[in-house]
Amino acid sequence: MRQGAAPRLRRDLIALAVLSAAYLAATLFVTNSYYQLILTLVPIWAVFGVGWNILSGYGGQLSFGHASFFGIGAYVTTLALVYWDLTPWLGIPLGMIVGGVAAILIGMPTFRLRGHYFALSMLAYPLAILYVLQYLGFQEVSLPMHRENPAAYLEFTDPRLYTVVAVGLLIAGIVACMLVENSRFGLALLAIRQNELAAEAAGLNSWLWKMRAITASGVIAAAAGGLYACVLLVVTPDSVFGMLVSAQAVVVTLFGGVAAVWGPVIGAAILVPLASTLNAELGNILPGIQGVVYGAAMIGIMLAAPEGLFWTVRDAVRQRRTPAAAPRPQPAPPSQVRAAPPPPATARPARLHADRPLLVVENLSRAFGGLRAVSQVSFSVNAGEILGIIGPNGAGKTTLFNLLNGVLSADEGRAELDGVSLRGRKVHQVARLGVGRTFQVVRAFPRLPLRDNVIVAAYGAGLSDAAAIAASEAALAKVGLSAQADLPAGQLTNKQLRLMELARALAGQPRLLLLDETLAGLGRDECEDVLDVLARLRDEGMTIVIIEHTMHAMMRIADRFVVLDHGRVLASGLPRQVVEDRSVIEAYLGKKWLAKQEA
């Protein structure tokens, strides 16, 4: 369970109970069979949306082909009933299993893709299945009626009972979604969606989390499809694998609210009755009206409120409340940063012998085409020291970090952390070995509160819930951001963001920190504050490699320098020696300047 999740969960569960009861009570009074059908379809499409939301909303992996899972659920339930006389009470769970397996099979190759390629590839699956089913002769399959004991076959003479089952399924789906949202699963997905590289660098195996998400998503979508078949009593490839089916999941969730438990429910409650009613009233003269409505809803919501109704309304309500009720916490004054409490006793890496290097880099090289971005770079970092990496723009400093923490793979050379090779490891694996990293351009998870930004890395390090909370609190205290823990990262100042990234790296229990221009864009005073934090970290035994432009700051903090130019090590040694090195001066200030000085 995530920190602060319990009250939200309780509130949501109460809302769920009240809404379900009210919905079912309202159902009792509807006698028109068409409206009864709509009342049943709303929760079914909402369940489908909930499933889509887990992968595409929370996880940000946009899928245009969720009809695959919906259709699989529908066809498995139907065919099991037709051929094996298996009751849908078991057929739907069977469909869910098959849907989950299909999700794994689809996810494994497709997660090699990102963004629009992923979305598009997902579209190809249901369409391919659709043609195959047509070829196999399943154009239209009816569910057989059972006159004896119909309820055992999920058949009811009173259509309102279908609504009860559908609401029951929706409750199960919503609870599942709440569990996801309030656990590290949900947090991992939100982090991956907002910044996949940062999530990886925080130790999250994004591929694994995405696979879990698509599996959960496929299982839920298949359940919706299975029940859909039972309600409509007939399935065709187009009605369960068609484009409109995939679009339905997208549109109800986008409209209602992306990455919100209630989003798909709100979207389905508004759009399904609207589109169905229009279809019933105008379907004869305007046969495609439902699709037009969905298309227009999609475009409209994307342009007007891209996160969906839920978030737009919530933000509006909060904004009205905020000035009166709870003024936003002010950024901590610098003095508070300096007076940060001593770190609580969490598991801190034992200090290694200073004579034994923690990180050894030898002849590390990487070329992009003909450009040798990093060439034969060798250096070592002793435990407990701060090594400064300096060099002009384009010298290969960030590329070097990318090689070390697995963003890029090296062409040749060696990089070992305490004797363990870093080469060939993925970003999250390097993070788990104990390498924390910050980025040149801050990679925050802007919508998550500060504490969640930081705790991601603690989860990434494999800590239990309680230990992760303790570790992130400790990390926030170390950088002096405890007071801002509840602010969304998007509201932080530049300095706070830099410190947040530092805290995130610390929460991952690193042995080595790679800091990429942590001081960039900071004013002089702000620089001093961050430098103080770094100095304190070193005093506590942390090993730090820092890339920095400003020589002034580096002189103050670094124990040793490595100077890169054109991808090669130009000089290394004590700060004083390095800044007086002729080749370094030349690289920084040019030959002319050097000649003038000597003249």
Partner: protein, 318 residues
Amino acid sequence: MGLEILIENVLNALAAGITIGCIYGLMCIGLGLIFGIMKVVNFAQGELLMLGMFASLYLVTGGGVLAFLGPFVGPFVGAILAGPIVFVGGALLHKALIARVSGLRTAGTLDEGHFGQLIVTLGISLILQNGGLILFGSTPLTVRTPLASRAFEIGPVYGDATVFLNKARLIACAVAIITAVGLWLLLEYTRLGKALRAAADNPTAATYMGIDVERAYRIAFGLGSGITAIAGGLMATYLSFSPFIGLDYVIIMYSGVVLGGMGSILGAFWGGLTVGFVQQCSALVLPPQLQNAAIFVVFLLIVMLRPQGLFGRSAERA
């Protein structure tokens, strides 16, 4: 005897593959142009193809203004004129909707606005499909030309094996190649082409150089729409279509464009040609219902096997 039939089938599949492949190539250029210049993921490209088909249909059949051209010349003139018509439609679509989720507005955002583009173009696609259903009905239609049932015969080349070159497809193929070359000349040698390429290369710098980037994008989107529409008009001469035809072809287009390398016009043509070729050859071994499924499998294979060339963000700057 068996060998003769086999040879005849293979040769005819090859011939059909090349002619249809050229038309697919043109179709893919439209999508490739839009992605290459604007970096916009257009999901509604299949519907632009569909609009091209219907534009041509309404121009040259029944009481259409070009009906006087007759069934031999008319369908091809109609196909070419579908280009400018859909160009205008595309440019308006860009101005009204696409521009809001693309171009300078989204440059530099975390995902370059792809999320918004996907959703908006999916919405456009749904509206055009279903709006098409309302306007045009669901009956499959075709722009009839007697040429579609006539063929040049080559051979017999081996025993009785003869190659038949469908006249309608052959002409369509020629029109497709001419259009593609014309577009290439436009992009390579005119001021407009230069502006488009500059806007593609670096929109911000292009703005500083006095290029109206939003206008360049609008023209690019219109051009991409029009080019695909011409391909649609050409295809309308030999196949029957309904408002939902775009779905099948959007996948084919992306296969071709991805195969050819995103952003390269020539690549898009070769990619489309290859996909058309593969599709026609698959007819040798697959029953007709599965040919479309085969295209999706081919698409997935292409996308899976060449991911490095696909998402430009793989070498993301950290």
